[in-house]
């Protein structure tokens, strides 16, 4: 990993932090719980890492077991997160 990639990563990190904080600050208190669970679902993006770990060419070793677990957990996070958010938002219909 060369310094340039690190700097680019940092840049994105900072930009995303700004965007995230500013976006959140406009959410009204009533929507804080759905927001929490919605952003929680997003954090399931770790699934990408899990997929990459599990899909490694060499089949079935400790890595793929760990990866497998990671995929399950991340999927729970993603699926559960979105569904829970959706259910909460259902209650907001007028």
């Amino acid at each position: 990993m060369n310094p340039e990639t690190i700097i680019i990563g940092l840049t994105m990190f900072i930009l995303a932090c700004f965007a995230g904080a500013e976006l959140i600050s406009k959410v009204p208190p009533t929507l804080h719980t759905p927001l929490m669970s919605g952003s929680n679902a997003i954090s399931g993006i770790a699934i990408l890492g899990a997929l990459l770990a599990t899909g490694h060419p060499e089949s079935f070793n400790s890595i793929s077991v760990i990866g497998f677990l990671a995929v399950i957990l991340a999927t729970i996070n993603v699926v559960g997160g979105y569904l829970v958010t959706h259910r909460m938002l259902q209650m907001f219909k007028k």
């Binding site: 600050s25 929680n40 899909g55 399950i72 729970i76 909460m88």
Partner: protein, 459 residues
């Protein structure tokens, strides 16, 4: 699929996440936002599956199916009231996944890490691990599986300190030799322990804040994983979640009028006091509430009864009262006023003031006409009244006001009391209404509290 296209799709996903969060800022668009966010996630997963590195699909598909079933099941089964702990649990899964990915990376690629990668890998392991156990503890506390009160014991701070130091030391070992499996496992174990220890001294009422904070942590963990894997999608999304989680935590702490440090560490050194202080007060979650919270309660009320008392008169808050009532009325809330015969300091005190503020006589109800309706009312807003809503008049034969008819406000779903303090009223007696489960105190001068409430509602 070429890596470039995958990266473009990642960018698309990140954009959709941001739009999704943006749409969450209004109830009208929130559902759409959630869908967009889902689409983004789907696209990112799809693109990854199409990546050249991935060629074994059995485990992946199996994992996804299992995860989907479990996730969907618990999400559908969970009761609406158990939502906060559910979010905590899901969050824990995310943290665990990050930690596992970090672990896998250590296993797969045991040499040739740059220091930066190593650092980020370790961080994703530690943060992911403590997010996992911390979330589980939060879940257990809220679900009532373990006592929700703060658990403290002698030497707690010392023990926590030692564990933090141990984690740092082990990390140092890993840093020097990234194949040291023992040290790696040690880091993992200690960070899991840290998660447990950090959450147990925190009271159940503060768990939503903790869940929010852990959510931010899981975002950070993802970000670190992203740095380790040089995956911009993870970096961006993780930092998005991290920043928003931290911001949300801050907003929630502000709303409780406490600092984050106070939430995290308030239990320490209070082992003795807390028991004493809780004396009369029932399950003591009802500290001071803030304008935003009260506004939310009012905004979601279907029926409201306003109970004015001498405090409204003293604060000359009659105009502010009418403004708030009118606004809520326009929003479709059914608003009535309950006038206790001796509210204020002269007969008809409330009538004179409310007439000045041009409140229609049709909205005013005498005690005997409205007392039966409290039980079917969503919210009661008590504005500077005290004696006239004191349940002791009905329940406590030793009270000097025992036998005086009072307004049955405590029968309503929620009671909001606007006062400056817990001070007594004219009769000079304590009021247990203020400590009841369904009561929320909003401290401050009634007029300015009402004005702030109105401003918050209009936002």
């Amino acid at each position: 699929m070429s890596q470039h296209i995958i990266n473009l799709i990642y960018l698309l996903a990140a954009t959709l996440f941001m739009i999704g969060i943006k749409y969450l800022s209004s109830p009208d668009t929130a559902k759409k936002g959630n869908f967009l966010s889902m689409i983004g996630m789907g696209a990112a997963i799809g693109a990854t599956l199409a990546a050249p590195e991935i060629n074994g699909f059995t485990l992946i598909i199996g994992g996804i199916i299992i995860g989907t079933v479990i996730g969907a099941y618990i999400a559908i089964k969970v009761k609406m009231t158990a939502m906060p702990q559910m979010v905590g649990l899901l969050n824990g899964c995310g943290g665990a996944a990050s930690a596992l990915v970090g672990l896998a990376e250590f296993q797969g690629n045991s040499t040739g890490f740059t220091p930066f990668t190593l650092l980020t890998l370790l961080l994703s392991l530690i943060i992911g691990g403590l997010t996992f156990t911390g979330s589980l503890m939060a879940y257990a506390k809220l679900q009532g599986l373990i006592p929700s009160r703060p658990v403290t014991y002698r030497g707690q701070q010392a023990i926590n300190g030692i564990i933090v130091l141990a984690t740092v030391a082990l990390s140092w070992l890993v840093f020097r030799d990234s194949t040291n499996i023992l040290a790696i496992s040690g880091v993992l174990v200690f960070s899991l322990g840290l998660g447990v220890l950090a959450v147990i001294p925190i009271g159940g009422a503060d768990m939503p804040v903790i869940i929010c904070l852990l959510n931010a942590y899981s975002g950070l963990a993802v970000s670190m994983t992203g740095f380790a894997l040089s995956n911009n999608a993870l970096i961006i999304t993780g930092s998005l979640v991290g920043a928003s989680g931290i911001f949300l935590t801050k907003i929630m702490c502000d709303a409780m009028n406490r600092s984050l440090a106070n939430v995290l560490f308030s239990a320490f050194g209070k082992v003795d006091e807390s028991a004493a202080a809780t004396g009369e007060i029932p399950t003591g979650t009802m500290k001071g509430y803030e304008v935003e919270d009260v506004a939310t309660i009012l905004a979601n009320a279907g029926s409201l009864i306003i109970v004015p008392g001498y405090g409204m008169a003293a604060a000359q808050a009659q105009h502010a009262t009418r403004e708030l009532a009118d606004y809520l009325g326009e929003q479709g809330v059914e608003v009535r006023y309950a006038i206790h015969p001796v509210a204020g300091r002269m007969p008809g005190h409330m009538n004179v003031l409310l007439a000045e503020a041009d409140v229609s006589y049709d909205q005013l109800f005498a005690m005997e006409d409205i007392n039966d309706d409290f039980a079917a009312t969503d919210v009661v807003l008590v504005i500077g009244a005290n004696d006239v809503v004191n349940p002791a008049a009905k329940t406590n034969p030793n009270s000097p006001i025992y036998g005086m008819p009072v307004l049955d406000v405590e029968k309503a779903r929620t009671v909001i009391v606007l006062k400056r303090s817990l001070n007594v009223g004219f009769a000079g007696i304590e009021n247990e209404l203020f400590y009841m489960d369904n009561t929320r105190m909003l401290f401050g001068d009634a007029r300015s509290s009402l004005q702030k409430l109105l401003a918050a509602l209009k936002k």
